[in-house]
Amino acid sequence: MVEPIDTTMRLGRRSFLKGSGVAAAAATVAGTMAEEVAHGADAAPPSSGPGAVEITLSVDGKELKSSIEPRVTLLDALRDYLNVTAAKRVCDRGTCGACTVLIDGKSIYACSMLAIEAQGKKITTARGLMKGDELHPIQQIFWEKDASQCGFCTPGFVTACAAVLAKNPKATFEDMKRAVDGNICRCGTYEQMFQVFEQLTGKGA
């Protein structure tokens, strides 16, 4: 099974450069970059645009700070700078839905928004839909219906569904289907998702 992502290893870069100790640490995989470890601390990276700015993003109920260039998308900021990885990078062009997050409750492709634009807004990823250890009702139904194969599209579908229902709790089956028509599931689990929609909307169209 999968190691949870937030296994935090508070390792600084310098200790890494000393070698073997870190190799062993690295071998424990995943989620090793603590929020405190500054990104790209080596040198001010060159930038063809304006330089990095300090920004604060409210993500899944936490205020996260980082120094981010204005050209960085919200998706890359979440994933590469803040180690929030539930939203997936698939096309980076607004064509697949895998990076869907909620911005103040509305679904947005995180690859199609700049991180600086998201300041002051409430950003929710699939991870943040949980209440503590409890699954969000939509996650609960996705889980019960076992509606995934590889699961890579799942966080995007879950957040897209959450947005529709947040906006319109009476959404019909067809509304749900339309709401996810910008999301691609290459494993073709649409049939299982239809079952999820049926349950969510209290029976078909």
Binding site: S20, A23, A27, T85, V90, C96, G188
Partner: protein
């Protein structure tokens, strides 16, 4: 190896049930760690420079400016990797030519397709890496490109690989350099005689476009080359051991110096077996002294990783008036892509695999051309072949006035039928799927309305066995930790755990499956060939038998009797006077010698082939040529079904991909050999609004050679859809389609042609 008899019980308790996958919560919450979720301290971002030309000689590569850009830690090109001789390395499911693999990873003297990797950069962030790529100066000498398979076979075609030798059957007229990498000939009986006996003969030509596996997770690899010389890789791969083998061979390292950790994988479908960026990440890490993550973007995935072949196929079939097929002849040319790929092999095996043909000949060509090197895609080679053969079968049935399923039943392959490539079938279930389809209410339902039609089609896949290892540790609380090397792409943690649980008489939830790195489990071949539930499940069964043996011995110690007096049935150990459940005994094992670990490594023989018969209703819009799927029923022999939901999910998923292949998906090339639609917007894969409810109907013809009767399930459902949809289109508008995809422009054009011919 354990035999079926050891575990045979009249009814199963776990097999055939639908437990929720062990990693379900991780998947719905986004906690699961996929390749691009791996973070390491000091991580650098790697990006690859790719050829803008489909075919060119590389005169020089100058990386000096890129190296000087602040924030850049390493720049590499083919100069950083030693060349390999043309030598084959075994990869379990197939083998790989190291010279070609090496040149595909980083082009040496020539680029052979647009997107061919030329150099790579590791930098402090992705933006800097991308800026650095622009500073690398490559001097190209562009050459003519060829992207259509028949053109690449011509005498005056541009030659991609100067010293390419044709493998396999000799070519009668071959002289000088060639793009034909392999020539296959299978034959059975005497086709001249066969066709002479035929009352009806139909011969047709078929084209299909290149399509991509389309897994939504792009390729990603993170490498850490430690100062002590050990290389660790976190990859999105269908096979961690295959990844280790290829990377070690390319970098001339012993396999023991390379550890590959398979991350969660966002789909593969055959396309994540060959390495592309793992060696690049490793070299960048070595040069920079840092961990490096190389991530592809979506255009890279389309342009630089294995699509599956475009093809040209000619099929000729002859039948007697009574509906008996007497002869078949197939001529098949498949794209190899930039380097030999061999998907033609299974294509040739599959083309007539559904039928009992007394006389048959199959000739096939693997043809090198200026596209990315092709790779497996769900029943590789079979879908192209099925589209051709099944369409001719439909036409014959129509001409003979026989119901298409009845016609197939008259000629269906069964136990003992010898395929043109040689083997005779053991127990198979094609006839059962045909009968089930015929009796299904869908087949007899009335279909009213203009421009609507129904079609059927069959498909075959041979499935794979190969090697798998597991170890299983009994925990004191009665649970069992199952350690395995099979990447879980669609629920195999659970389908394997269920076979262990069944054998031990515990629940699926009491098994804790772990997919681990290459140092932590025995050699395991790729998750591919529909083999994982079959072969790794078999290993889990054998490991459970090992546990039962050891636990019986412990029970005997407790009860002071001989181990022979201990029997085990459905989770209960007993002797004449005592009994303990699996859980009770597990709680005592620490008192009697400590932990019990069961282990098994199998090289699974006795693979069971799978067949499917699909029924589809469509409606064609005569104005736009758009085809809408109204209803879909997919009947498949699944062997014994371990987890019905997952088997159904595989069938539905395969059909969705088959629908995409049939109706929309294609690589569009311009005259210079550049792909013009390398994005998810322009390469259209089906979404929720494109697919109807797909009803899977599972027929269970257990594989007598597997302990639980398992056959592979995942691949065959992609094979029938294009042919079945083609037949439905014909029945809707009276026009036969001979080219994939049957996209709106092509259907529209066919309608216009038909009208002007009248």
């Amino acid at each position: 190896m354990a035999t079926a008899n050891e575990t045979k019980t009249s009814s199963y308790r776990v097999i055939g049930t639908r437990p929720i996958r062990h990693d379900g919560v991780d998947k719905v919450t986004g906690r699961a760690v996929y390749g691009n979720d791996v973070q390491l301290p000091g991580l650098l971002y790697g990006r690859v420079l790719r050829s803008p030309h489909a075919h060119a000689r590389i005169r020089s590569i100058d990386t000096t400016k890129a190296e000087k850009l602040p924030g850049v830690f390493a720049v590499i090109s083919s100069a950083d990797i030693d060349p390999h001789e043309s030598k084959m390395a075994e990869l379990g499911e197939g083998s790989v030519n190291l010279q070609y693999l090496c040149e595909n990873v980083l082009a040496r003297k020539k680029v052979l397709y647009k997107g061919h990797a030329v150099a790579a950069v590791a930098a402090v962030n992705a933006h800097v890496a991308e800026e650095a790529l622009k500073l690398i100066e490559v001097d190209y000498d562009p050459l003519h490109a060829v992207t259509w398979v028949l053109d690449a076979m011509k005498d005056d075609a541009p030659i991609l690989i100067d010293d390419l030798k044709t493998e396999g059957a000799p070519l009668p007229h071959s002289k000088g350099p060639t793009n034909i990498a392999q020539h296959i000939v299978f034959s059975k009986g005497d086709i001249e005689k066969g066709f002479a006996e035929a009352d009806v003969i139909i011969e047709r030509e078929f084209k299909s476009a290149t399509v991509h596996q389309g897994y939504i997770e792009p390729h990603v690899a993170t490498a850490l080359w430690s100062p002590d010389g050990h290389l660790s890789i976190w990859a999105s791969t269908q096979g961690s051991f295959t990844c280790r083998q290829q990377t070690a061979e390319l970098l001339a390292l012993p396999v023991s110096k390379v550890t590959v950790t398979p991350c969660e994988i966002g789909g593969g479908f055959g396309g994540k077996i060959r390495v592309y960026i793992e060696p690049i990440a490793a070299l960048l890490s070595k040069k920079s002294g840092r961990p490096v993550k190389v991530l592809m973007n979506r255009a890279d995935v389309f342009e630089s990783t294995g699509p599956t072949p475009g093809s040209f196929i000619r099929v000729k079939l002859g039948a007697k008036r009574d509906g008996r097929l007497v002869a078949g002849d197939a001529w098949m040319a498949y794209d190899a892509g930039a380097y030999p790929a061999g998907i033609i092999g299974p294509g040739c095996v599959c083309v007539f695999s559904c039928y009992d043909l007394p006389n048959a000949r199959v000739e096939g060509f693997d043809v090198v051309l200026n596209k990315p090197q092709t790779a497996a895609y769900r029943a590789p080679g079979s879908t192209n072949a099925a589209f051709a053969c099944e369409t001719v079968i439909e036409e014959l049935a129509e001409k003979l006035g026989i119901d298409p399923i009845e016609f197939r039943l008259k000629n269906a392959a069964k136990e003992g039928t010898r395929r043109p490539d040689g083997p005779a079938y053991p127990v198979i279930g094609l006839v059962e799927t045909l009968k089930t389809a015929k009796a299904h209410p869908h087949y007899s339902a009335t279909l009213e309305g203009p421009n609507r039609g129904r079609g059927v089609g069959c498909g075959f896949w041979m499935n794979a066995g190969l090697k798998s290892s597991v170890t299983a540790h009994v925990n004191g609380d009665g649970t069992v930790t199952l350690v395995e090397g099979s990447t879980d792409i669609g629920g195999t943690r659970t389908s394997i755990a269920m076979q262990l649980a069944e054998t031990l008489g515990i629940t699926a939830e009491e098994v804790v499956p772990r997919v681990v790195d290459t140092d932590s489990v025995g050699y395991t071949d790729v998750t591919g060939g529909s083999r994982t539930t079959f072969a790794t499940g078999w290993a889990a069964h054998d490991a459970a038998i090992d546990i039962v043996k050891q636990m019986s011995a412990r029970a005997a110690e407790f009860w002071k009797c001989s181990p022979d007096e201990v029997t085990f049935d459905r989770g209960l150990f007993s002797s004449k006077s005592h009994a303990l459940t699996f859980k009770e005994l597990a709680g005592k094992i620490q008192e009697t010698g400590g932990t019990i670990t069961g282990r098994a490594s199998v090289e699974a023989k006795g693979v069971g082939a799978t067949f499917g018969t699909h029924i589809v209703d469509v409606e064609v819009d005569p104005e736009t040529g758009k085809v809408k799927i109204l209803r879909y029923t997919a009947v498949q022999d699944c062997g014994r079904v371990i987890h019905p939901s997952y088997a159904e999910g595989q069938i539905q998923g395969g059909v969705v991909q088959g629908i995409g292949w049939a109706l929309n998906e294609e690589y569009v090339y311009d005259a210079d050999g550049r792909m013009r639609n390398a994005s998810m917007l322009d390469y259209r894969m089906p979404t929720a609004v494109d697919v109807p409810t797909i009803e899977p109907v599972m027929v269970e013809v257990p594989n007598p050679r597997h302990p639980y009767g398992v056959r592979g399930v995942g691949e065959v459902p992609i094979c029938p859809p294009p042919a079945a949809i083609g037949a439905a289109i014909y029945n809707a508008i009276g026009i036969r389609m001979y080219e994939l995809p049957m996209s709106p422009p092509k259907v529209c054009q066919a309608i216009i042609n038909e009208a002007s011919a009248k």
